[in-house]
Subunit: 273 residues, 2 copies
DNA sequence: TTTAATTTTCTCATAATGCGGGAATGATTT
DNA sequence: AAATCATTCCCGCATTATGAGAAAATTAAA
């Protein structure tokens, strides 16, 4: 006991790369600035190690030092988001469609993209000029909640649904999508038959009416969600907007599939681990 | 020679973390899809290693598998960009100012933020409705070219400028900002005295008139750039727009400094290596 | 400009973890 | 349902990440 054990690491199961990338998750809108000392405490590693992590992330542009001390998220995220936007055919095709629909919808419109196990807003069309629409891109949706997610879910290939049912059955049950594979599958088939899904499960004051967008026959890429306030919305209104959404998505899908051969656009798939 | 040497790595000087993060740089708008085999060739490492890299990046959401084979940039970049937008006080303050200026400028407006050694467009106000403004956020500017960059440069602290002059003298000379420290410093002082900078060095058909925005007295955070077509722009017009930019930036800076105490907003500094 | 308080990098021995090659598993299309 | 992929797992070896403290550089003040 006369000598301290040197160079013992915090024996975590994940790799060094995972630990470094995990640092970025700490930088949230609530806690946008982290100092080295804060990271030493939070990560439970030595100061030199934190400096190594931070330096690697700074060199890559994922962090930037701020005046005094501390770091914030860096410019590479902004650049990469632009890179994604430039390569995304949906962002070329959908805006004019949203502009056409604006008056008939008279509410809001969301384009939600499918990213493997995640669905997120990629584009929003404002009706209310007070709302800063640019803040919505990047808002995540739970996979099993909200009409945008669930209408995408409903059109996934069967074997992907089987995997989901096996690996995420707790979440599926919690979202009320069925206690077993048969319930889950049948519920989704009903959505598929209807062609669209109206739901009010995220914001109770709003109703979202979503239809799927396909990048190839039978392959969902995204969903268009028409948003209306719940009060005063009749069943007839809902059906009407459903038809509007389905028709718009049909056009978008057609353009998307015509667009694709020209460019190497590719769309994410779900891979359950 | 009867046995191959096992487990020899591509003896590169940089760490594993740097190599993994470097993978992301390959995903550009020109080459948005990379397969594992392409990466094996490009990186010169084993297939198992590439799979390890790709898996770590997928787990972090920086890559997503696409149908068939291959990977594209993942949703985390979109989410992080949103996180940055939500934490950025400039994006709350500047849009209404840009709206006010729209008619008097009658051209374009750029808000360019300073990110250490990088300047990039963070917000754009359109005049021409044909231009998709959302694609401009994330466009990088060379540090020593363009009025947005150079007007920021002109207001950096002296010691930061000394560092730049020492470490980047080739780039500085190439941009015509002076062959030595004295020339460089005097040129920037002239910009500082004028209060704004008009230049036409990036797009020869356009003139950019930029003024600095401060997050604290003497601490530049960004610049506002008013853009006009060069033809038919008189010296008087230029001076007028310069005054408009300076006045607008003064207001923005005041709001920014009033805003700051309430929230933990922090602004990047330049750190030359 | 010079000085003093920081923050950041460097040095080093140690052992933990990433590395390649090949087999086993898993997923997806016909 | 079977065949063809893409992906993960296994394992010995050595490269390379690690913590503590010293040295250097950076920033803010005088």
């Amino acid at each position: 006991m006369d000598s301290v054990t040197p160079a013992s690491r915090p024996v975590s199961g994940d790799s060094s790369i995972t630990r470094v990338l995990g640092v970025l998750d700490l930088f949230t809108p609530e806690t946008p600035v982290w100092t080295v000392d804060m990271l030493v405490v939070r990560l439970g590693v030595g100061r030199a190690t934190v400096y190594r992590y931070v330096r690697a992330l700074c060199d890559a542009g994922f962090l930037v030092p701020v005046a005094g001390a501390g770091y914030v998220l860096g410019p590479r995220f902004i650049e990469f988001d632009r890179s994604i936007r430039l390569a995304d055919p949906l962002l070329h095709i959908v805006p004019p469609v949203m502009a056409e629909l604006r008056d008939v919808v008279n509410g809001g419109q969301l384009l939600c993209a499918f990213y493997g196990l995640r669905v997120l807003t990629v584009l929003q069309d404002k009706t209310d000029p007070n709302i800063t629409m640019s803040m919505e891109r990047g808002r995540p949706f739970p996979l099993f909640q909200g009409s945008p997610s669930r209408v995408i879910l409903a059109h996934l290939p069967t074997y992907q649904l089987r995997n989901l049912a096996l690996n995420q059955q707790a979440e599926i049950a919690a979202a009320g999508l069925g206690e077993n594979w048969a319930d889950f599958r049948d519920g989704l088939r009903a959505i598929r038959r209807a062609g669209y899904l109206a739901a009010s499960d995220i914001d109770k004051a709003l109703v979202g009416i979503s239809a799927p967008i396909f990048h190839a026959p039978g392959a969902v890429a995204a969903s268009l969600c028409l948003v209306r306030t719940r009060e005063g919305l009749t069943a007839a209104d809902e059906a009407f907007l459903g038809g509007v959404a389905v028709e718009a998505c049909k056009r978008i899908s057609a353009e998307l599939q015509a667009f694709r051969p020209g460019e190497g656009a590719a769309f994410p798939i779900s891979r359950v681990r």
